[in-house]
């Protein structure tokens, strides 16, 4: 009897253990793995979709957009990551289909030089014009030009007027 109980105990412990151990080898291991990688994956999807323009609602990234196409593209990104593509490869994949316009930050190339550096160039031009104007004005102000007789008379007349008014 004691042996039988012992046998049953042994059986329960071994088989009882076997179950979870077996599951750990397959099911829960995979679950644990996906738990570990999914936030990572979602983070990559978010990073990538923040760099891509939604072509339906053009001033939004596909991360911000709920347009059907944006959702499709996010799924596509998820799929490409699962296939093991790198971020650059996924961006290339999108550019091949939708062109440079799909990039939220346009690449620096000959056609976009004006876009990237135009504002700075205009600002610089404005500054140069401003400084030249200020320098010229300073030169003119510092030059001591005596008043002509007519000007002196006019100035006195005006000053006299002020004096009278204030009295």
């Amino acid at each position: 009897m004691r042996n039988l109980i012992l046998l049953a105990l042994i059986a329960i412990t071994t088989f009882g253990n076997l179950g979870p151990v077996g599951a750990l080898g397959t099911g829960s291991a995979r679950a644990a793995e996906s738990l570990a990688t999914e936030p990572e994956l979602e983070k990559r999807v978010t990073t990538l979709s923040q760099d891509l323009r939604c072509l339906v609602c053009q001033n939004q990234t596909i991360a911000d957009s709920h347009a059907p196409l944006a959702i499709d593209l996010k799924n596509q990104i998820r799929e490409k990551i699962a296939q093991g593509m790198s971020n650059d490869q996924i961006i290339d994949y999108m550019v091949q289909r939708y062109g440079d316009f799909v990039l939220y930050r346009p690449p620096v190339k000959a056609a976009t030089l004006g876009l990237w550096f135009g504002p700075a160039a205009i600002l610089l031009l404005g500054l140069i014009m401003l400084f030249r104007y200020l320098a010229r004005r300073r030169r003119e102000q510092h030059a001591d030009v005596p008043l002509s007789d007519a000007e002196r008379k006019r100035a006195q007349a005006l000053l006299g007027m002020v004096d009278k008014e204030s009295k």
């Binding site: 339906v56 053009q58 059907p68 499709d72 593209l73 289909r97 939708y98 062109g99 316009f101």
Partner: protein, 175 residues
């Protein structure tokens, strides 16, 4: 001279903004022009059991028209295509994009079917390969499977006459 400087700057800005008024921001240049049309093999709309692929049109100049029953602009375009198909100038293949099969079939029986056949892209996967973002879109593909022209938005009789037909004639003549 300095007196006219503000006026000059104003005119330059006005000219730029004026031109901008007449540009359509929805028309994004496609990177696919003069590139091979992306391969596809899709079930047909009418016969789900049969597939149709890009290779089936090899050696022909053809139009690929992306349409859907939910697309409002397609209603404007459809009669133009039906009319154009009657001339038999160039075969048109329809790409029924993210549609319910039943709705797509009803649309064709209701408004007429200008297509040689339509393929059925339920999840829009092939649409993504073709860079589709605004239905309707139309691609002109040459005998070697190279995309020669893309129209985003409604195809009008003017576009058929001035853009598509001359290109079709040229592509049929040269290749």
């Amino acid at each position: 001279m300095n007196r006219y400087l503000p006026l000059g700057i104003f005119l330059v800005i006005a000219a730029f903004l004026g031109v901008g008024l007449f540009l359509d921001p929805r028309e994004v240049p496609s990177p696919l022009i003069n590139k091979p049309a992306p391969a596809f093999s899709l079930p047909q709309l009418h016969q789900p059991a049969q597939t149709f692929s890009r290779e089936d049109m090899k050696g022909k100049v053809w139009l690929l028209n992306v349409w859907a029953s939910w697309c409002v602009a397609c209603r404007d375009e459809h009669p133009v295509l039906v009319e154009f198909a009657r001339t038999g100038a160039v075969p048109i293949v329809g790409l029924n994009y993210k549609d319910e099969r039943r709705d797509g079939l009803r649309w064709l029986s209701q408004f007429g079917d200008p297509y040689q056949l339509s393929v059925y892209d339920y999840d829009g996967r092939i649409g993504i390969d073709y860079g589709v973002y605004g239905v309707p879109e139309t691609f002109l593909i040459d005998k070697n499977g190279i995309i020669r022209y893309k129209r985003i938005g409604v195809v009008t009789p003017e576009i058929l006459r001035d853009k598509i037909l001359p290109l079709v004639r040229e592509l049929n003549g040269n290749a």
